[in-house]
Symmetry: C2
DNA sequence: CGCCCTATTGAGGGCCCTCAAAGCTAGTGG
DNA sequence: CCACTAGCTTTGAGGGCCCTCAATAGGGCG
């Protein structure tokens, strides 16, 4: 009997929508099989046709794709409560891969369970649809970030997004310290910049007194200042509070 | 009595999914009010809370946002049959703007009509959800395009995407001539490059014998070659045929 | 005909890249 | 206990892709 594996999902959904008791019951009724992933493990790969979607329970995952030149492009990071491949319920073939960053625990949910829950509750459907639409909004911001901002602004914006999302699900306390398994190469792959330039950009943010970057954690020293530096407005995350 | 305003929508949906007769009837039952847009007109703007979603009937629209530095970032182009702001049914506040490129005709559909149709048919819901998920896939490709490819590859990829989508809805015949109201500044805003560099990049593609770019139309001379030049694989568009 | 928008081309500069090497930390095994 | 290794971080130097500024040409329209 899985005690509370759907808890991170509920916490996430309640950060972006109202979830009535009936839907909570449906969520608890999902069959969830846990699976451990080590750093770098692929959960699903391009071309797969999975019959499960994975709920992040602990740790961090990313979506990525490899372009012809050989560089890895990361398109999103995922925190506990996210279902990075929820789309595979409706798009059978994966057009990108999903991998673990650091060790993580995911809960595999059969597509048929999700589909049955959706058919039973239109409201739950709309909440989950909303979730994927917020995903889209994050992609759009990512496009603007890579296409229209300089390295330092883009970096600050990306860190702001992670912190805002981490706070929304209670992963960050008042000390503004965020335990992240990210390494600088991940940031490089996410922003489309070189590792060397990522390093120099982080140094700039550090010297500006905005953040402390240590392997394994990010501490925000000046949340106002970081948002300003990153041209960051959290409204695109469509959080219910804040 | 609107004769067939939902026809472009149906054609689009049938390019990505099977649409049973019952759902076709629901689509025909939507109240659609046409509206003409001139070049550059905003359909909706950042911060709006629209009560309609717009179906593109003729012409072309784009989603965009303005970053702090003042540059406009285009995040997607939309052809007849697309509903660029379908998301506003579930995300009340616009986090980006939608504008017309060249003159266009859109059909405004009340959110309540869409919601009622979704509640009546889970299958229609899944088709429309699928549509927004393909939107997401396009955003992801766009991220990889801007972040990981050089100007000429990115440009070829973008043109491939437009052509592949245009063909899927029957907008392009065998002559591979695509009537597009795009100007070079639009391409610049989409790819995060300068107008000058767009011009030089188009010249390269022209001199390579891949395309003919004229104001108002794009002709593909070498479809195979253009796909190769753009590192393009259409599978992320999740089209039912081709 | 003149105006505005768009396209095109030149020249110089800057942001970021690649190549290269050294320091740091943690885990491993002798 | 400490050399050893592997992965990550940090810093330097030079080069290239793309940017900005600038100017000319072309085309549609009142």
């Amino acid at each position: 009997m899985a005690p509370d594996l759907s808890a991170p999902l509920l916490r996430k959904l309640e950060s972006i929508a109202v979830v009535p008791d009936a839907d909570k019951a449906l969520l608890r009724g999902l069959r969830i099989t846990t699976r451990q992933l080590a750093h770098g493990d692929n959960l699903v790969s391009v071309g797969d046709t999975p019959h499960f979607s994975a709920l992040v329970i602990t740790g961090m995952l990313c979506r990525y794709d490899v372009v012809e030149s050989g560089t890895r492009q990361i398109m999103s990071f995922h925190l506990p409560g996210d279902i990075p491949d929820l789309q595979s319920v409706f798009l059978s073939t994966m057009d990108h891969s999903v991998a673990s960053i650091g060790p993580s625990t995911v809960g595999l949910i059969p597509h048929e369970d999700l589909q049955r829950a959706f058919e039973r509750s239109f409201h739950l459907t709309s909440v989950m649809w909303r979730e994927t639409l917020i995903d889209s909004a994050i992609f759009r911001q990512w496009i603007g970030n890579i296409g229209g901002r300089t390295a330092i602004v883009a970096m600050a914006h990306l860190l702001c997004e992670l912190v805002a999302r981490g706070r929304a699900i209670g992963l960050i306390k008042d000390d503004m310290r965020f335990r992240l398994p990210l390494i600088q190469q991940d940031l490089a792959d996410a922003l489309g910049l070189s590792l060397v330039h990522i390093n120099r950009t982080l140094r700039q943010l550090r010297r500006a007194g905005l953040i402390v970057w240590e392997p394994g954690s990010l501490t925000v020293l000046d949340w106002e200042g970081l948002q300003k530096a990153g041209d960051f407005d959290p409204s695109y995350l469509h959080l219910v509070r804040d």
